[in-house]
């Protein structure tokens, strides 16, 4: 498979997987920030989520609200089969490339 996804896209896909049904804008943002330690603007998260949905790697539906949100519903994202495949592929690509790194001799 030749399609490549960007780093942020990959991180967000992973976060959506981790959150397992509880993934929406703020929770994805928090998850990615927690693991990477950097700050990401909400808008960037949303743009990427929608781009991934357009690419068919995510699907979404409106659901669940809380008082904090002023009783507004969240858009909950789920990974699709295609998204899962993409994640696997990119991990495989990386693993293959790691394997090709010649063993560096340490210590001399």
């Amino acid at each position: 498979m030749s399609r490549v996804i960007g780093e942020l896209e990959e991180l967000i896909l992973l976060a959506v997987c981790i959150l397992d049904g509880e993934a929406y804008g703020v929770s994805v943002k928090k998850e990615v920030e927690r693991h990477t330690g950097r700050t990401i603007l909400l808008g960037a998260i949303h743009i990427t989520l929608y781009r991934l949905q357009d690419k068919g790697m995510l699907q979404s539906k409106l659901g669940g609200s809380s008082e904090k949100r002023g009783d507004r519903r969240k858009r909950l994202f789920r990974i699709t089969k295609k998204g899962m495949e993409q994640l696997r592929t990119s991990q495989d690509v990386r693993q293959k490339m790691w394997d090709l790194i010649p063993q560096l001799s340490t210590g001399s």
Binding site: L42, L62, S66, R69
Partner: protein, 910 residues
């Protein structure tokens, strides 16, 4: 549960999102924004949460605005930026002029904004700041309608008995300069402390000055305890712990009084109207025990902390009952007057001034305990900042509309291809915002680079870097960019997008040069402002030049004066005798005040029945001082050192003679004031005999009229100010013949310094020259004139940038017309004239408009001065000529190149 109302700024952001972001996304986005807002509110507080709300909102709008309507897909933001970049790069001259003008304007505005922010946010670090009020009273020593920040200790006593609405009332007492040392150090180093006051034990219950060591509640309880700030402690004790150590004050007679350090404070923040290095306990002030009920010992500052929810208007009303009830005892015992006699029927009002208003208040203008701001200066600065920004925005609009004709074709093509009007408007607004954004960044750099200069002029320590981490600052900056971008971009965008494609594509607009009216109006506005500024600047300079040439009635040149003589005690006579032997000094004299700062005043009346009580300034000096000043006697004589009775005799000035009812030289005939008595209208009502009348001279700044003055001898102990520890000075007239160079002068000063050190090495040596002190009374005005000069130049530069751009544009538009004229035989000079006359007319109109405005402004400013330079027509003419020639020079370059162009080149395309 009821959630609190959303703040205005959040609702505004919401409205923007609703307007620009597609409806499908609204619910989830708003939900996310709210959720994050709540989180941030908890973690970081209200302001960062609001600021981040905006940042996120704007980011979302930019990310999702393209979804608002399906038709505008071709106009993504990125695309717009690309087009903006291309058109900017194609018209480099316009782009540079635009950016330069805007950058200058924004930089000025940011610098001034920093200054105004600094000035308007004084005293906001006190925990109970909103409940702290200073208690002011009527100016009982002069104009009763003015406010006076000095109050007597009796006011506090009265409030404590009668008014329960205050949680605390506290007093701070003005001590005056003191020589101090720390005896434990074994060193004799003395410091001259200026910012030393005495404060009551509850001072820190009212004000929040953080303690590093010691207890705020008990530190000032005991007599002879003192709290010091960190840097002061360092000065005395180095890095050692100051608590429990001793600091001593030295009196004029050489007696030391010890104070024990009980508290170490952090240094007082720079934005505080109370500025002290040390505070000792008010219970150490001995006189307070005997005079605690007096109302006229107005050397205290009184501050009250009102209870929560107090109605200030009602409380102020309540306070008005105090002066008639309590002050009468004071007026009776000190002035032998009833309360009504003392006030002459005027109301003795008490005022409550909120803490945050104190620094920049119009009145009282006087604050004994720290800095006092100048609201006029802040206003002038602010107005100029807004004006310069306005000028540069106008420039921007002007240049953009001018350029718009060139882009008319682009607009036409776009419209034909189906672009909606809103898309075009957005394109132009985004372009202008990009310009503003770039200019803002450049302006911030410029401010950072030039802040040092600005600080020197405004005498401030402003810093841009400190604000860069402040979300407030960023919020303001973003809001500011949006507003200026919208304001500057709105006209060209609406104007351009309204073009009819058919006409623009036919080329009608190019020939028509539409919108000239508005553009010319804007040019006139710019030049009106510039010319008015030029005229004002001229007058400020003229007034300053004039005031330094006013004959003040005394010879103020070549007078060296040294300070702190009261700390020398009797040693001052030794020093005086010693200095008199110096051949470079012709006279040496002692005095209790130095012109132009003779501010002491008291109440006197001429002897006899029913004589009115009048306020006279008084000055103490010895028999040498009036000859040193070279005052002229109208009648009578100077103090005579051989006549013992002269100790209690006085000399008055013409104005005092008039106001005491003796008349003037022309009217008194044989009935001269000599030998008559002036009664001190206080205490035991001592009589003082007049032995001379001197010609009026300016003993205060020449901003004021000459006021009545009474001169008494240094040794007169019938007046309360004798031995009250008031400052005294030695003045000496330098023989100009013996001091020929700066080095000679420096040598002389060193001589005087070493003589002083021989008498008492502990006294700090401080000196000044009288003429410089007179000049210094115009310090504020000089500062203002420098600032005005700077901004006048800026305004002119910006106006010229605009004019230059317009001229360049016009030259481009009319090059064919000029080419044809040339072809038919018009000469170059004729063409230049033709071309320039259009702009000259505009500048001429501006001169006509600016003249009355500038006249009103200068007249208003000059009305502050007792001696004012006349408003002469010449200045207006000069300013007009200057403006015209600057404009002519700016336009001339363009018109010359237009007129010189080869008609064949210009017309070959037709």
């Amino acid at each position: 549960m009821n959630t609190p109302r959303r703040s205005l700024s959040r609702r505004l952001a919401d409205a923007l999102i609703e307007r620009w972001v597609g409806r499908v996304y609204l619910e989830e986005f708003m939900g996310d924004l709210d959720e994050m807002y709540e989180d941030r509110l908890e973690q970081r507080g209200k302001f960062p949460a609001e600021a981040m709300y905006w940042i996120d909102a704007i980011h979302l709008i930019f990310g999702f605005s393209s979804t608002v309507s399906k038709q505008s897909h071709s106009m993504f933001i990125g695309n717009m930026v690309k087009i903006a970049w291309r058109s900017a790069a194609r018209h480099k001259q316009f782009t540079v002029l635009n950016l330069l003008g805007l950058t200058l304007g924004i930089a000025t505005c940011v610098a001034i904004g920093l200054y105004v922010y600094e000035e308007t946010t004084y005293d906001n670090f006190h925990a109970n700041g909103d409940r702290i009020y200073r208690i002011n009273q009527s100016m009982i020593w002069g104009d009763w309608t003015e406010q006076f920040s000095g109050t007597g200790p009796g006011i506090t006593e009265a409030i404590r008995t009668d008014v329960p609405d205050f949680e605390e009332v506290t007093r701070i007492y003005f001590v005056g300069e003191q020589l101090m040392r720390a005896p434990d150090n074994g060193e004799a180093t003395h410091f001259n402390e200026v910012n030393l006051y005495a404060a009551e034990d509850n001072f820190f219950k009212v004000f929040t000055f953080p303690f590093i060591k010691g207890s705020p509640n008990t530190a000032l309880k005991e007599p002879h305890t003192i709290v010091v700030t960190e840097s002061t402690a360092k000065r005395y004790f180095g890095d050692a712990d100051p608590i429990g150590k001793t600091i001593e004050t030295k009196s004029a007679t050489g007696v030391y009084t010890p104070y024990t350090v009980t508290g170490l404070l952090a240094d007082v923040p720079s934005q505080s109207h109370l500025k002290f290095d040390m505070l000792y306990s008010l219970s150490s002030v001995g006189e307070l025990k005997t005079s605690k009920d007096t109302w006229i010992w107005t050397i205290f500052g009184t501050y009250g902390l009102v209870r929560e929810g107090t109605d200030i208007t009602a409380l102020t009303k309540k306070l008005q009952a105090l002066p008639p009830k309590y002050a009468s005892r004071t007026t009776q015992s000190i002035f032998n007057q009833t309360f009504e006699q003392f006030t002459k029927g005027k109301p003795w009002t008490l005022y409550l001034q909120p803490l945050n208003d104190i620094y920049l208040a119009k009145e009282p203008t006087f604050n004994r305990f720290g800095p006092q701001g100048n609201p006029k200066f802040v206003m002038i600065f602010g107005a100029i900042g807004v004006l310069v920004l306005l000028l540069s925005s106008i420039n921007f609009m002007n240049l953009s509309t001018a350029r718009s004709s060139n882009r008319a074709k682009e607009v036409g093509v776009r419209k034909v291809l189906g672009s909606a009007k809103t898309t075009l408007v957005r394109q132009f607004i985004i372009e202008s915002m990009l310009f503003v954004g770039v200019s803002t960044v450049a302006a911030l750099l410029l401010v950072q680079l030039s802040l040092n200069v600005f600080n020197t002029i405004a005498e401030k320590q402003l810093s841009l870097v400190a604000h860069l981490t402040n979300p407030y600052f960023f919020g303001t900056l973003i809001g500011f960019m949006l507003i200026v971008g919208l304001a500057a971009g709105s006209y060209p965008s609406l104007y351009l997008s309204a073009f009819k494609p058919v006409e623009t594509l036919k080329g009608k607009l190019r020939a028509g040069f539409k919108g000239t009216g508005i553009r010319n109006g804007l040019v006139v506005f710019q030049f009106t402002v510039s010319i008015a500024l030029i005229i004002c600047t001229f007058f400020v300079q003229k007034q300053l030049a004039y005031t330094s040439t006013i004959d003040v009635g005394i010879s103020k040149d070549h007078v060296l004066q040294i300070y702190n003589m009261h700390q020398l005690g009797k040693g001052v006579d030794v020093l005086k005798a010693k200095l008199q032997t110096n051949p470079a000094l012709t006279v040496v004299a002692q005095s209790g005040f130095l012109p132009p700062n003779v501010w002491g005043g008291d109440r006197y009346r001429a002897e006899g029945p029913d004589q009115p009580v009048v306020d006279l300034h008084y000055m103490r000096c010895d028999e040498n001082y009036l000859p040193l000043l070279q005052t002229k006697f109208i009648i009578g004589r100077n103090f005579d050192p051989t006549n013992a009775a002269d100790k209690f005799n006085i000399i008055i000035n013409e104005e005092a003679a008039r106001i005491l009812g003796y008349g003037s030289k022309e009217t008194w005939g044989d009935e001269t004031p000599l030998g008559k008595h002036v009664v001190q209208s206080f205490g035991p009502e001592e009589k003082l005999q007049i032995i001379g009348v001197v010609k009026n001279f300016n003993f205060n700044s020449v901003k004021q009229k000459i006021e009545p003055l009474l001169v008494m001898h240094t040794d007169n102990d019938k007046h309360w100010s004798y031995s009250a520890g008031f400052p005294s000075y030695l003045s000496m007239r330098i023989n100009p013949g013996s001091v020929k160079s700066g080095d000679d002068l420096q040598d002389l000063i060193n001589d005087v310094k070493s003589e002083l050190a021989k008498v008492d090495p502990a006294i700090p040596f401080r000196y000044s020259f009288m003429d410089e002190e007179f000049d210094d009374t115009f310090h504020e005005e000089r500062k203002m004139s420098v600032v005005l000069n700077l901004f006048t130049v800026l305004a002119i530069v910006i106006a010229c940038l605009g004019l230059f751009g317009l001229a360049a544009f016009s030259a481009d538009q009319r090059k064919k017309e000029l080419g044809i004229r040339k072809l038919h035989g018009a000469s170059t000079s004729h063409l230049v004239f033709l071309f320039s006359s259009e702009f000259t007319r505009l500048v001429g109109l501006s001169i006509i408009l600016a003249t009355p405005i500038a006249w009103l402004l200068t007249d208003y400013w000059l009305s502050n001065f007792a001696y004012r330079t006349p408003i002469s027509a010449l200045v207006f003419v000069v300013a007009g000529v200057v403006a015209l020639s600057i404009a002519a020079f700016t336009v001339g370059f363009q018109s010359l190149s237009a007129a010189n162009a080869n008609p064949a080149e210009v017309l070959k395309n037709e």
